[in-house]
């Protein structure tokens, strides 16, 4: 069958953002002189328009383009997370890139195109579209990571590129083996093949396929032991890109993981939950323990992002709609608190000097009260202290794990969360209780209206969804109802 207008309806948000990306590229070419400060806002306008075309997707599951793309509440929910990530990233990037002298249309276009890739990953219902969407997102991110073209930025880009290409190989080989075993790469088709043929679950080809797909996704979400690229890539990339990588890539990859593992591999839960149990434990523990040893806040946040992937994996292990809803909530909460924290990091830096060592934060809490307040809020949320969104997210995921009887994993998760309080609070303690050195490291903040707006929006998100999470949790549960 060919496609119809109903199919186009499902693709509208993606088309709008792709158009915005092309418009940004063209607009720079016709902008007179150096006046191109409006480019990021053109991108944000595209995201807002796309957001207005999305609510229609909430509701019963639909599928378009011969089963390639879903139009369901799950996809719509993830799209909204991604809109928040994309818009906040663009807001945060504006003043930062201008200060570093790299405010080029290519950056904004790549962010928007990566966003399209992420959205397609969340909506794809066929492993072929999942893979192509993942590559679209990844290649854009490789280029963004190297966008500053200094030594560390290039190293980040190169490491991420080599290991990312390597992991794509695993994913693709896994998909090929699944095709061999099931005769299809459609997610519903794989579920049907496993459900109708009990013997298939024991076939080495199918299991090898599931294993390789697991490895491929584990690379993308930076689960231990596939996390080696994360610290260097996150530390070397431009800070705004690090925020985008940590939140957007994670949201898109976990959305695809939910669709693949909760739907396609649903009947194999016994087989994969054990593997992911170990991965979740390792990811949480190693991420947190290494973060404690860091003296650079940006690198610490990289390890903390590994730890957060571990908490989310606990939800994947539980494998119920309740856990899935918790994961969706967590991804949104993490987007707000992480982009907010990285925005604070950008503000303390100046051109060529990132000032992300912990000592640079000494005394900043009283020198710049607003920055101190915002950073403290984001750190509290990451540590999972109420009344922030980070607390509710962890609570939802651990609750779902307990309901499935994963007591030990939950205990380890809570212990890890307690250990992480140490290094998050250390930032706050340094800001407020350590005197500023005689020759101040941070003399002024790199803050403009857009940066302030992004930080305030992220802060409001963290607080609002932490105090009244009810409506959002209901939406997430509704999203999962149509998925599973």
């Amino acid at each position: 069958m060919t496609f119809s207008m109903a199919d186009m309806r499902l693709l509208t948000p993606h088309l709008v953002i792709t158009a915005a990306a092309l418009l940004v590229l063209l607009a720079e070419a016709v902008s007179p002189g150096r006046r191109k400060g409006y480019l990021p806002y053109l991108g944000i306008a595209g995201i807002v328009v796309a957001a207005f075309t999305t609510p229609g997707l909430f509701g019963p599951a639909r599928s378009g383009f011969s089963g390639m793309l879903a139009g369901d509440a799950f996809a719509a929910f993830v799209y909204f997370i991604l809109y928040a990530v994309g818009a906040l990233t663009l807001l945060v990037s504006d003043a930062y890139l201008r200060d570093e002298g790299r405010d080029h249309a290519e950056y904004y276009a790549l962010v928007l195109l990566a966003l399209v890739g992420m959205m397609l990953m969340a909506g794809a219902t066929h492993l072929m579209s999942v893979f192509l969407a993942l590559e679209t997102m990844s290649i854009a991110i490789y280029a963004l990571a190297g966008f500053f073209r200094d030594e560390r930025s290039a190293e980040a880009s190169f490491k991420y590129f080599i290991l990312g290409a390597f992991s794509s190989g695993f994913l693709l080989y896994g998909i090929a083996l699944l095709y061999g075993a099931c005769g299809t790469t459609e997610i519903q088709g794989i579920l049907d093949a496993f459900a109708s043929n009990r013997a298939l679950a024991g076939s080495p080809m199918a299991l090898a396929g599931v294993g390789l797909v697991t490895v491929g996704f584990a690379f993308k979400v930076a689960a231990v032991p596939f996390h080696m690229w994360t610290p260097d890539a996150y530390q070397g990339a431009p800070t705004s890109v690090t925020a985008f990588m940590a939140t957007g890539v994670k949201a898109a990859a976990f959305a695809a993981v939910l669709r693949v593992f909760f739907v396609a591999f649903q009947t194999l839960h016994v087989d994969w939950s054990g593997v992911l149990w170990v991965l979740a434990l390792l990811t949480m523990t190693l991420g947190n323990l290494t973060a404690i040893a860091q003296t650079d806040v940006k690198r610490m946040l990289a390890y903390s992002s590994i730890a957060h992937a571990g908490y989310i994996l606990v939800g994947v292990v539980a494998g119920t709609p309740e856990a899935g809803a918790g994961i969706l909530y967590y991804l949104l909460a993490y987007a707000f608190m992480n982009i907010g924290a990285f925005a604070c990091l950008i503000m303390v830096g100046r051109k060529g000097h990132e000032n992300t060592e912990l000592d640079a934060f000494a005394g900043l809490g009283f020198k710049f009260p607003a920055l101190g307040l915002a950073m403290s809020l984001f750190m509290f949320s990451m540590a999972g202290i109420p009344p922030t969104a980070g607390f509710i997210g962890k609570f939802l995921i651990f609750k779902a794990a307990v309901h499935q009887g994963y007591y030990w994993l939950t205990i380890f998760g809570v212990l890890n969360s307690a250990a992480s309080v140490y290094y998050y609070l250390r930032v706050i303690v340094t800001m407020y209780f350590k005197p500023e050195p005689d020759t101040p490291v941070v003399e002024g903040l790199r803050a403009g209206p857009s940066m302030a707006l992004a930080t305030i929006l992220a802060g409001l998100g963290v607080l609002y969804f932490g105090i009244v999470p009810g409506g959002l949790v209901d939406l997430a549960e509704q999203a999962l109802r149509y998925l599973v």
Binding site: E106, L120, L132, T136
Partner: protein, 168 residues
């Protein structure tokens, strides 16, 4: 007869692969790779995949190999340094991995493990022809992935310019 031709192509493909690894001169490596690519194209033809055969010749044996040779000439690498003679950890590890790969490939053959047949059986191909079959699939069922691939290429293009161009 088909089987004999298959073995001839397969032997050339393997010999080409070995040549890539053993050749001292990078240009010889590249030429051996051409041999492998052409032999693979022959095997595709044996399987009635005429379109893939043509694409394999044009894209891999033609365009991509030209690029590789260009890069080799631009970088002006003449000969490998002699230090690769040593049997380092990386080499041993690589050999172990290669051995494992052989096992992984041979076990399913020995055990007779096969996957499900796809839609492109020989009868279907004989009836509609491989170009028609492929193009119909590509522009109907696989239309969305096809379009995603075009966005992917655009991303690669923009990314390469952003990373490599001196003054943006």
């Amino acid at each position: 007869m088909t089987l004999a031709i298959f073995f001839v192509f397969a032997a050339f493909a393997v010999l080409g692969g070995i040549g890539v690894l053993l050749a001292r001169n990078p240009i010889h490596s590249a030429l051996s790779l051409v041999g492998t690519m052409v032999s693979l194209a022959g095997i595709y033809l044996l399987h009635h995949a005429e379109f893939i055969f043509a694409i394999q010749l044009m894209v891999y044996a033609g365009a991509i190999m030209t690029l590789i040779v260009f890069v080799i000439m631009l970088l002006d690498v003449r000969h490998e340094e002699a230090e690769t003679e040593r049997l380092g950890f990386a080499k041993v590890f690589g050999m172990v991995l290669a051995g494992l790969m052989v096992v992984v490939l041979l076990v399913p053959l020995a055990a007779g493990l096969t996957g499900k047949p796809g839609g492109m059986t020989e009868e279907v191909l004989a009836r509609v022809g491989s170009v028609e079959f492929l193009s119909e699939k590509l522009f109907t069922t696989y239309l969305l992935p096809f379009e995603i691939a075009s966005v992917l290429l655009l991303v690669g293009l923009v990314g390469a310019v952003a990373l490599a161009k001196k003054r943006l």
